[in-house]
């Protein structure tokens, strides 16, 4: 009997691994996201503090990258995706501190990439109004990321809660939630976006609402399915038998155990949301000019840059958005692959 008691060997835990706990990762993520939101959405309210607010986000982004890269080191794909995503996140948080030209100030129009004009070297050239494309791309990334992450988080909050209720509680709650979900899911996504933004008006906050309406039903379905599966596990029965409240069972006993598939889905969905925001701006329904945004850059260039020589104005934002989404998708793929392995 004593041999059973022999503990399995537990290796010493290095610092990075210790930080890999969900709680720390979440804290770091918040440390990046909250300043970004404050900077982009509430810049005016911040007044003179605006120029400092992003400073803590830079080390947080670097640390989170190091922790995540270490945790996922077994999957090259995941690390590749992570690197792409953090490349953009890092640019987004450090944009105010980089030596960039004013993204909205015309300097010299139609300068092709890698050429010098007026004593300034333009890495990515300038657009038809003479604004620096490098600056516009980096500042645009900031807007896309902030609204993308915020909208996805909002959709997740709503979708997860409804999914847990529908899956765990079942009964009439499930009927109602599932029916509303089915109604919303039967709209083609873009049609739903157009409808909602047309009704609410065009702004970043309304994009968050539109994304929530279109994504939350899909998230709800996933969570509902996972909850139905986990619900029949003995540890849930154990909690029920000791008389725990449904809310506690849902949040404490159930939710942590469906984390894995949800993180994978969240990565994919961050990609979809990025696509949606870019596309909506391109269609003239999303974020408003003049502040730079990838969709807006494409929209403006698509009417004026239809010559091969000036196609860089289209290609630069298109490549940027593709690489960011590729990053999210590779991350999702790598995580899924790792979860299937063990």
């Amino acid at each position: 009997m004593s041999a059973i008691a022999e503990p399995l060997p537990s290796p010493p835990v290095p610092v990075l691994a210790r930080l890999a706990r969900p709680r720390f990762a979440l804290a770091l993520l918040l440390l990046i996201w909250v300043p970004l939101v404050a900077y982009v959405m509430f810049g005016r309210e911040l007044g003179p503090y605006r120029s400092y607010v992003l400073i803590p986000a830079i080390p947080a982004a670097l640390l989170l990258y190091a922790v995540a890269a270490r945790t996922w080191r077994e999957s090259t794909i995941a690390v590749a995706g992570l690197t792409l995503v953090f490349f953009w996140i890092l640019l987004a948080v450090s944009a105010p501190y980089l030596p960039l030209l004013d993204p909205n100030k015309p300097v010299a129009p139609f300068v092709t990439p890698f050429t010098e004009r007026n004593g300034i070297f333009f890495w990515l050239g300038t657009d038809m109004r003479g604004r620096d494309l490098l600056a516009r791309t980096i500042w645009g990334c900031q807007r896309v990321l902030v609204w993308g992450i915020t909208a996805t988080a909002a959709a997740y909050l709503v979708g997860t809660m409804l999914g847990l209720i529908a899956g765990y509680r079942g009964g009439w709650r499930d009927e109602v939630v599932s029916f509303v979900g089915n109604v919303l899911l039967s709209f083609p996504v873009m049609v739903l976006f157009i409808l909602i933004l047309n009704y609410l008006g065009q702004s970043g906050f309304n994009i968050v609402i539109a994304v929530t309406f279109s994504s939350a039903p899909a998230i709800m379905r996933i969570v509902r399915g996972l909850a139905l599966d986990v619900k029949s596990r003995d540890y849930i029965h154990a909690a029920q038998v000791r008389g725990e409240r449904p809310l506690r069972i849902m949040l404490v006993e159930l939710l942590p155990n469906v984390r894995g598939p949800l993180i994978v889905d969240a990565c994919l969905r961050l990609g979809y949301t990025t696509v949606a925001i870019t596309t909506l701006t391109f269609l003239g329904l999303g974020l408003q000019p003049p502040d730079p945004d990838w969709g807006l850059m494409i929209k403006e260039a698509s009417t004026t840059a239809l010559v091969f020589k000036f196609s860089y104005m289209l290609v630069v934002p298109a490549l940027s958005v593709s690489s960011l989404i590729l990053g999210f998708n590779l991350m999702a793929d790598g995580l899924r692959e790792m979860s299937l392995r063990d």
Partner: protein
């Protein structure tokens, strides 16, 4: 190499008969991210025509890998790293793919553990059977279908025409396994590999399949490799047996001979940890094997069993690889133990100190006429639903410190009863009283904290019982706080430590996540959690059925120790009559929602029996050559719980059924002695005249047994 070659075989002396199958020094490894993981090392086996050879061992011992290596189906990451597998003298590993294809399914066929998963869900049974003949024997389609039908008939599938046209999901598990066996036999193979063919089936269904397997050997002269974790099944089906441990064969010999004279400490440990009819919780308790199976890449030097062996001697057992040594200089009996001649094999395993059975106290639980019906969902546009009577007029009681076992096969309603008792479901009718509190129609939300705390549960699946996201300690502590046993944080922590001590786990485990624990350890934590709130009654739903036998013994003993000490009432739900016989004071035998028989353990295991109890007793495989069983094989399947027979639920399968009475009129109660109740139409004289199912053989006939 030489060791295998110079190993003569009793039947090899009679002439140049080529073995059907011969494994010589076979080693198989899997290649994973962690590197090479040896699954089987230095494995030898020789199977002559018409013989059945059993491979027995606990999970992870490599027995299934041997089967897959024989089939040359090790997947992308498995590889034969040494030795050879000769089938009819030809090495299977060196064969071309096309030759291998011709042999598979035609000369070597396999039967799998999960029949449902092994059949293609989108093809009819007939098409899947005929396929074998279409490609191996080049028969025309109508001939192939005709032959397939005939084969189904010969494996005694009822209504073969219907089955031929059915999809796999439309037939029962027992029928599915018969279909898989028929598929294997279609091309009249020389060798049949059976990998745990009855593990997924109920015990009375299992008995029918075992009967069929024995007939196959006799009728077709097919050689059989039978893989099982169940020693009793091996005894019933095989001529030879190889016991495996940690990727190695540790003992081999004719079944009867080996069972009667064990010559390896591991085999000895296995036998001491299974509840044979001779075991008794007071006088001859189970003796678990200490320690854990070594991990495949972390095996000890020398004898793999060394660290867990009571006869281990440092310096000799761990000095180098141990070969298979002959026992009594008889070449056909071998054991991988270098101390064969030094150990006193007759000495029984050390029995722990005798513990007196605690006298049962007052009645704690009183169940009266309890019924639980479910409305099957008819749903939208479907019209009225049907009713499933999951529990029907259950009446029994349980006393303080008593162990009451509920036995039955799947669908008998034993788990539903647990749900009603714990308040996850409410009773349709009747009452449950715990002490003086009525529970029957009270769902868990409406029960007061004391009642909830008084009634806790130990669950079946060790991989599911603990929440994988929280540490062991926090899960136990939650119960302590929830039931207000302790409130002060330091005291809570003390109590967690005390509970871990109680289930014999180190205190450091409190900080572990469940995935860092083995199955047996998780089940111990599950027990600690159940007892954390000082319950008066614990319901254990198949608490050990998912564990390996050596671990089962340890967990069973632990559960009983704690129960005795706390004078807790234990409701033990199980499908396994052997374990129930071992630990229960009283037994309820359930079938399709009803209690068919109840009484004290010795009353259940002796005549008069309910016909169903009799069949159950006969179906349980017993790994003891001294025990002789009367065969009672039931025909047919369990009726669907949503459509039970009108009269006695057992009437459709009962060998004694009286037509016109049993199938129409609900059976009356016969009470041969106070508290022993049998629900049956048979005349009391008929029941009283029943002969025992198990009896001890006369000593002189023992030698011939086993290898029948």
């Amino acid at each position: 190499m030489d060791q295998a070659l110079d190993r003569p075989h009793p039947s090899a002396e009679s002439g140049p008969i080529v073995p059907v199958l011969e494994c010589r020094n076979l080693s198989v490894s899997y290649y994973t991210r962690a590197g090479e993981v040896p699954a089987v090392t230095d494995f030898n086996l020789r199977l002559m025509p018409g013989e059945a050879h059993g491979l027995v061992g606990e999970s992870g011992c490599g027995k299934s890998t041997v089967a897959l290596a024989i089939m040359q189906y090790l997947g992308g990451n498995g590889r034969i790293v040494g030795g050879e597998i000769l089938f009819d003298g030809r090495d299977l590993a060196k064969m071309k793919a096309e030759d291998l294809r011709r042999i598979r399914g035609a000369e070597i066929a396999m039967v799998y553990q999960e029949p449902m998963a092994s059949l293609n869900p989108s093809m009819t049974v007939g098409a899947q059977l005929a396929e074998v003949l279409l490609y191996h024997d080049r028969l025309s389609r109508p001939t192939a279908l005709e032959r397939a039908r005939a084969m189904l008939e010969s494996v005694r599938v009822p209504d073969p025409d219907r089955i031929m046209a059915a999809y796999p999901h439309q037939i029962s598990g027992g029928q599915q396994q018969r279909v898989v066996i028929a598929m294997a036999l279609l091309s009249n193979p020389k060798l049949l590999v059976l990998d745990e063919p009855t593990t997924a089936l109920d015990v009375t269904i299992e008995a029918g399949i075992v009967e069929l397997i024995r007939e196959i050997g006799a009728a077709h002269g097919t050689s059989i490799i039978y893989i099982s974790h169940n020693l009793g099944l091996i005894l019933e089906t095989c001529d030879w047996v190889t016991v495996m441990y940690a990727g190695e064969a540790v003992e081999v010999g004719p079944v009867g001979e080996l069972f009667d004279a064990i010559r390896h400490p591991y085999t000895r440990g296995l036998f001491a940890s299974i509840p044979l009819p001779s075991a008794d919780k007071i006088s001859r308790p189970l003796v678990p094997i200490p320690g854990q199976l070594p991990l495949p890449y972390d095996r000890p030097r020398g004898c793999n069993f060394g660290p867990r062996c009571e006869f281990f001697i440092a310096g000799s057992c761990d000095s180098g690889p141990i070969p298979m040594l002959p026992v009594w200089n008889a070449e056909h009996r071998r054991s991988r133990c270098i101390r064969i001649d030094e150990i006193d094999w007759e000495r029984p395993p050390a029995p722990p100190a005798l513990q007196a059975a605690p006298p049962p106290g007052d009645i704690l639980l009183k169940v009266e006429d309890l019924s639980k019906h479910y409305e099957l969902e008819g749903g939208f546009l479907a019209g009225g639903g049907r009713t499933v009577k999951a529990n029907e007029s259950l009446t029994f009681d349980a006393r303080e410190a008593e162990t009451v076992a509920i036995v039955g096969e799947s669908g008998c309603g034993k788990s539903t009863f647990a749900k009603v008792l714990t308040g996850l479901e409410t009773a349709t009718d009747g009452s449950i009283r715990l002490g003086d509190v009525e529970l029957g129609a009270v769902p868990i939300e409406k029960r007061d904290a004391r009642t909830v705390a008084a009634l806790q549960m130990v669950f079946q699946n060790p991989f599911d019982t603990l929440n994988p996201s929280h540490s062991v300690g926090s899960q136990i502590a939650r119960v302590i706080r929830k039931f207000g046993v302790e409130r002060d944080e330091a005291k809570v922590r003390q109590r967690v430590d005390a509970l871990l001590d109680m289930v014999k786990l180190p205190r450091a485990f409190a900080r572990r996540k469940p995935r860092q624990l083995s199955g047996g350890q998780k089940q111990r934590v599950g027990i600690a959690r159940a007892f954390a709130g000082n319950p008066r009654m614990v319901i254990a739903d198949e608490p050990v059925s998912a564990l390996d036998v050596s671990v089962q013994a340890a967990v069973t003993e632990l559960l009983m120790d704690i129960q005795r000490e706390h004078r807790t009432t234990l409701i033990f739900i199980s499908h396994d009559l052997s374990i129930v016989r071992y630990l229960a004071d009283r037994i309820l035998v359930m079938y399709l929602g009803r209690i068919m028989e109840q009484g004290r353990t010795e009353e259940i295991f002796a005549p008069p029996y309910h016909p169903y109890t009799e069949a159950l007793l006969s179906a349980v495989p017993v790994a003891d050559t001294r025990i002789e069983k009367r065969k009672v094989v039931l025909s047919g399947d369990l009726p669907s719980p949503s459509d039970p027979p009108a009269g006695c639920p057992f009437s459709t399968r009962c060998p004694y059924a009286i037509p016109g009475t049993c199938d129409v009129v609900p059976p009356p109660v016969f009470e041969p002695s106070p508290g022993h109740r049998i629900l049956c139409h048979l005349a009391p004289e008929t029941l009283m005249a029943m002969k025992p199912v198990m009896s001890e053989r006369e000593p002189e006939t023992r030698a011939a047994s086993g290898s029948s």
